[in-house]
């Protein structure tokens, strides 16, 4: 009887694991089939080189570059903002803050990641953009700057929390070695601990980039819906994710070429996040070997 119970439990656990794998595989298959159908009608070279993305207009262009530049620009702004802030927080918590403070501040920071992104989106649109407009008069109401900054706030906990874990995992013997040589706290943190924890820190940054690239609501609300190949952070752009939302919610006909564009855009996005996750997985594997 007990054996039977064990067997049932084991099979249940196994099947739930298989369900996740099956769903992932299903997503990849659907994405690929629809994307292949799309590329039967649109050449992949046009897709990668055309500088216009106008699938819903009469003069159709299917160049992914404007969407890609929108995604990369907003993500870049987010990362440039979040890395120094997140890293400073992690160094402060790990090396300076008293133990009791560490225990309160870490969960509090992780709460930032729990705020619904739609709230962040409206925060960007209704608070950050008007605020920035007082300094930057030319700033449009939809722009990648404020969307990027707010997305940066959102990903700060990814960086600070994972980097803090990495710093905390540096053996105490190294900390003592540094102090024993006459390092100040700052020297110890930047010359010894950060380099020693670098792989964990890099992983945290890559995961944050991956999160930023896949982020949808903030950019859909605050960055606009105008595919535009530009590096100007003050004008409206459209990211891959925002485009997918726009078309999914619109009235394009199921099975049409317009409809398939979202799968082409989706697979582009998927390739990016997949690559980033693979890189971070590899780094993490190496990192684990180092300390065991």
């Amino acid at each position: 009887m007990r054996k039977l119970k064990e067997a049932v439990i084991e099979k249940t656990l196994l099947s739930s694991a298989l369900v996740t794998i099956a769903v992932t595989a299903g997503i990849i298959v659907v994405l690929s089939i629809e994307a292949i159908n799309f590329f039967r009608e649109v050449s992949i070279i046009d897709f990668l080189t055309d500088t216009q993305w106008t699938p819903l207009f009469t003069d159709k262009h299917f160049g992914i570059l404007p969407l890609l530049s929108g995604t990369l620009l907003t993500s870049f702004i987010a990362i440039v903002f979040a890395v120094p802030v997140g890293l400073s927080i992690s160094i402060y918590i790990s090396e300076y803050a008293p133990q009791s403070f560490r225990k309160t501040i870490k969960p509090a920071l992780e709460l930032l990641a729990a705020v619904p992104t739609v709230v962040y989106g409206f925060f960007a649109l209704t608070v950050v953009t008007p605020f920035l407009q007082t300094f930057i008069p030319g700033l449009s109401s939809f722009n990648s700057l404020s969307a990027g900054l707010v997305m940066g706030i959102m990903i700060i906990p990814f960086i600070s929390s994972l980097s803090e874990d990495a710093l905390h995992a540096v053996p105490n013997s190294l900390r003592e070695a540094g102090y024993g040589m006459g390092s100040t706290k700052l020297q110890n943190a930047f010359r010894i601990l950060v380099p020693a924890a670098s792989s964990g820190i890099i992983v945290s940054i890559i995961l944050a980039i991956s999160r930023a690239i896949g982020e949808t609501m903030i950019v859909a609300i605050a960055a606009g819906q105008q595919p535009r190949l530009t590096l100007d952070p003050t004008v409206p752009v459209e990211t891959i994710t925002a485009y997918i939302v726009q078309v999914s919610l619109g009235d394009v006909q199921h099975g049409s070429l317009e409809y398939r564009t979202i799968f082409a855009a989706g697979i582009t996005l998927f390739i990016f996040t997949f690559l980033l996750n693979t890189i971070s997985y590899q780094i993490r594997k190496k990192f684990r070997e180092k300390y065991e």
Binding site: Q99, P171, S173, L174, R175, E176, A177, G178, Y179, G180, M181, G182, S183, T184, Q187, R191, I192, P195, A196
Partner: protein, 264 residues
């Protein structure tokens, strides 16, 4: 620490490099050191022995203020180096640690190149002169007998070295900043006998230039290399004498019990 303690005038006797005066150490409510007075001589090797938990490592770490980072640490009394109270308020702890180097139980090279490890202490002092650094690194590695073994691999990771080599590298790293005192906390306990012999030989040579205090669990080691030995038990200094005397004819019964292996 009270202000008036800073002003205690002690006649500085040159041979007494390190002095502890009525030192008590607490970790929260636990009293780890129960009032120790001790003078440690310059250019000698002084060994601290005693069973685990007797306070010898805690006591050693008072001399470069390494206990400052331990939660709940509190000290009473005074520690003097060359007659100066190192626990007074305005002391520069970083400067102190350049004067009082430390070698740890487990070799702990930085995850950097061999060169960077040895140059570290000089670089954090702001020294940038490349040729000076290079000479200093070579000189320090020669002092620990590591130069010939690593001169081809000076830019390779220090983590690739063997345990014994790593420990000698850690000693070289300490020597590079020219301390006058070296504290060693069981420096050979993680090493094989051959590496241990090399380190012991090195320690013996170093006493020409440095005052060395070494914590060890290995009584043969204490007997072989030290000039003076201090036996600690339960946070107290039980006996402190010339090593020859302490190991052959101890005054106290507890010391005798410990060194003959009846407990510990």
């Amino acid at each position: 620490m009270k202000e008036n303690q800073d002003k205690i005038e002690t006649p500085v006797r040159k041979k007494h490099k390190l002095q502890a005066k009525e030192v008590k150490v607490f970790y929260d409510d636990f009293m780890a050191i129960k009032g120790i007075d001790m003078n440690i001589r310059a250019n000698k090797i002084t060994a601290f022995i005693g069973p685990s938990g007797c306070g010898k490592s805690t006591f050693l770490r008072l001399f470069n203020r390494m206990n400052d980072y331990v939660d709940g640490f509190r000290m009473e009394g005074n520690i003097l180096i060359d007659g100066e109270n190192i626990y007074k308020k305005n002391i520069n702890v970083e400067q102190l640690r350049k004067q009082v180097g430390m070698v740890f139980q487990k070799p702990n090279p930085f995850p950097k190149s061999i060169y960077e490890n040895v140059a570290y202490g000089l670089k954090i002092q702001g020294i940038k002169d490349k040729s000076y650094l290079k000479d200093k690194v070579e000189d320090s590695l020669k002092q620990v007998g590591l130069w010939n073994e690593v001169k081809e691999d000076i830019n390779k990771s220090a983590l690739a070295l063997s345990g014994g080599q790593q420990q000698r590298l850690c000693i070289a790293r300490t020597l590079a900043v020219e301390p006058s005192i070296i504290l060693m906390d069981e420096p050979t306990s993680a090493l094989d006998p051959i590496s241990t012999a090399k380190i012991e030989e090195l320690i013996y040579e170093l006493k020409q230039k440095y005052t060395i205090v070494i914590v060890t669990h290995n009584m043969q080691q204490a007997g072989r290399i030290s000039d003076y030995t201090a036996f600690f038990y339960m946070g107290e200094l039980i006996e402190y004498d010339k090593s020859k005397k302490l190991f052959t004819n101890p005054e106290k019964q507890q010391t005798e019990n410990y060194i003959t292996g009846r407990f510990g």
